[in-house]
């Protein structure tokens, strides 16, 4: 009875690229990675199943600290991106009209036409000791001599927020655009003030968009490699750097794979926790992205 009607066949064919993509590029490498992470090299070309890699992570404070630091900084970056993107999204979605709106939207998208590497190197030009901003600060007398603005945690944060702001902005704009202006007017008419309307009307309405944007930014930040390395230098202590080191420098694939899985677990747990705390549903948030 399992006949393949033309309609079903069309559906399968249309889904095939997506399924292949998922299977070959996401699931297969992860299964392989998972298997690698649970083994131990006991001799040249000889492996045995083991939890040693995971034990190393918990026993070695460096790894553990890097891990926590990455999570905390990503969280800060996400919150700051939200705070910074919200007024911009509001302006684009509700205040700007017609050509101005299109122009503003284009202005936010335009920097992303350049590669992330180029954009990050741009920050380098601005912030390094002999760069534009330190020179200028020294010139107008704020500092005695040009100061090195690179290689601070704040610098990493600036870069992370900059490179992920768009992913917060787009779901926020979408969410705010669907907010009926008359709801705000009605709340105002009933005696609400700005702060109260923001808290009771605007934020609850935009909540799925806020969740979607925050998940995107948090994931991108947590998994970012380039920005912390370029702007933070050797002291960046980013967890992806540890993974890179294990795979490329140390050639310890087993340890790298275990770290990768720990990062995946961490991000999943934090996203789940965030949704639970704010009472959002994953499906709602994903529809807004």
């Amino acid at each position: 009875m399992n006949t393949l009607t033309p309609k079903r066949l069309t559906l399968y064919l249309l889904l095939a690229p997506a399924i292949l993509w998922l299977l070959l590029l996401i699931i297969l490498p992860h299964v392989g990675m998972g298997m690698i992470s649970f083994r131990e090299r006991i001799g040249p070309g000889e492996f045995a199943g083991s939890l040693k890699q995971y034990r190393t992570f918990f026993e070695e404070p460096l790894y553990w600290n890097t891990f926590v630091r990455t999570a905390v900084m990503s969280l800060i970056a996400t919150i700051m991106a939200l705070v910074m993107a919200f007024p911009v999204a509001w302006t684009i979605a509700k205040v700007a009209k017609g050509r101005l709106k299109a122009l503003m939207l284009a202005a936010t998208l335009l920097p992303f036409w350049a590669s992330e590497l180029v954009r990050t190197l741009g920050w380098l030009i601005l912030l390094r000791g002999s760069g534009v901003i330190p020179q200028f600060l020294a010139f107008i007398g704020v500092t005695d001599q040009p100061v090195e603005l690179l290689y601070h945690d704040a610098t990493i944060l600036v870069g992370l927020i900059y490179s992920s702001l768009l992913f917060m902005l787009v779901p926020l704009i979408n969410a705010l655009e669907t907010l009926d202006d008359s709801l705000i007017e009605a709340a105002y008419d009933l005696g609400g003030n700005r702060l109260n309307i923001l808290r009771k009307i605007i934020i609850p309405h935009a909540a799925p968009g806020i969740a979607a944007g925050s998940i995107m930014v948090f994931m991108l930040t947590l998994g970012n490699y380039l920005t912390p390395v370029v702007l933070g230098g050797k002291s960046s202590m980013w967890f992806t750097e540890q993974i890179y080191t294990q795979f490329i420098t140390r050639f310890n694939w087993e340890q790298g794979a275990a770290f990768a899985f720990l990062l995946l677990g961490l991000s999943s747990v934090l996203v789940w926790l965030g949704l639970k705390i704010t009472g959002q549903r994953f499906a709602d948030a994903m529809r807004r992205t």
Partner: protein, 364 residues
């Protein structure tokens, strides 16, 4: 109905208010007084400026000139959230992120009432609009009529001096709209709050209001009771906009007679003293007598033999379109509600009679 207007204090006074936009004037030096406890409607076609006027009263738009006085206080520089006015929005604007009870309690919470007081007042108000015990429901669980009542309850619970209603029945289907019309009128009677209602639907305005202002191009054409507007319109616009009318363009031949463009001579009553010039003549379908015998209409000033063209059966609102034999002038005639003449057939000859006072002529 109107008796209170002489003695009752004025709740809303709009004084010489104007609002100009780059290319047009939305509201032009308009004045208006609404006595306490009355149901006042502003009736006009879309684009006549009625929404602008309402939003100026609510405080969302600032007038360019003039002043708005509510409950004896000037509203100049008073923000919408500080005015003793609440508005029922066109699409109701209920908050979907809150329950029915939270919607009704929103305004009370802003006034700093305790949780207990809020829920007590909200429940009482919901009961008053006929929706007891639904405070816990979500907005999307309500029917159209229920949403309507929740929106009104949300505003009335704040006991405003003035309740503004911006065509709130527009989104409802016909049956429900008819029902809500009566309900709204009844509710207004019970609570005694002053209602200012804007609509483009003349039936809504006529049924519910104590007084109606007919608005056109940013100004009032006429303000009066529904009866005054219907039986004694002051301008051609009011005559054409309120109720159905046969409109015939022509010229006055003397003070009591006009000739339509098609050549039909009609005995008429001019509304302005004039004996010549272009004129618009209005005849309501229900004022025209229709008979198969010429003798039955002998007492009418205008007696016209006609041919039946089309029958429009619509229950109590049935009309017949007839064509005057000599000039071919087309007229709509209401059919008697008794069912008499329901057997008319197209092509049949009938006689219609119209009294001179039922042909209202306006200069124009």
């Amino acid at each position: 109905m109107q008796t209170s207007s002489n003695t009752a204090p004025i709740d809303l006074s709009v004084q010489e208010v104007s609002k100009h936009y780059t290319n047009f004037t939305a509201v032009n030096r308009l004045s208006l007084d609404v006595p306490k406890g009355s149901f006042f409607s502003i009736l006009g076609p879309s684009g006549c400026g009625k929404t602008t006027l309402l939003r100026m009263i609510a405080g969302f738009i600032t007038p360019d000139e003039g002043d708005i006085v509510i409950g004896g206080k000037s509203m100049r520089n008073v923000a919408p959230n500080r005015r003793p006015v609440n508005m029922v929005f066109q699409h109701l604007a209920l908050f979907p992120m809150m329950s029915v009870g939270e919607n009704v309690g929103y305004g009370l919470a802003r006034r700093g009432l305790t949780k207990g007081e809020i829920s007590k007042k909200a429940d009482a108000m919901l009961e008053r609009v006929g929706l007891p015990g639904i405070a816990g429901k979500r907005i999307d669980q309500l029917s159209g009529g229920q949403k309507q009542r929740v929106a009104i309850a949300r505003s009335l619970v704040l006991e405003p001096t003035l309740l503004l209603l911006d065509e709130p029945l527009g989104a409802l289907d016909l049956k429900l709209r008819e029902h809500m019309k009566l309900e709204l009128k009844q509710l207004q009677n019970e609570v005694g709050t002053t209602f200012v209602y804007i609509t483009h639907d003349q039936s809504e305005a006529l049924v519910m209001s104590d007084r109606v202002a007919v608005m056109n191009k940013g100004q009032f054409e006429q303000v009066g009771t529904p009866q005054e507007l219907y039986y004694h319109p002051k301008t051609a616009f009011v005559a054409g906009f309120v109720g159905n009318s046969n409109r015939l363009e022509g010229v006055l031949t003397n003070a009591a007679e006009g000739k339509t463009a098609s050549g039909l001579t009609l005995a008429l009553t001019p509304t302005q003293p004039a004996s010549s010039g272009a004129t618009s003549m209005f005849i309501r379908p229900e004022t025209i007598a229709l008979s198969r015998q010429e003798t039955e209409i002998a007492s009418f000033a205008n007696r016209l033999p006609c041919k039946v063209e089309t029958l429009f059966f619509d229950g109590a609102n049935s009309t017949v379109q007839v064509k005057e034999v000599a000039t071919g002038t087309q007229l709509h005639v209401a059919l008697p509600h008794t069912g008499q003449h329901s057997d008319l057939v197209p092509g049949e000859t009938v006689f219609i009679g119209i009294r001179a006072e039922h042909v209202q002529a306006f200069q124009g």
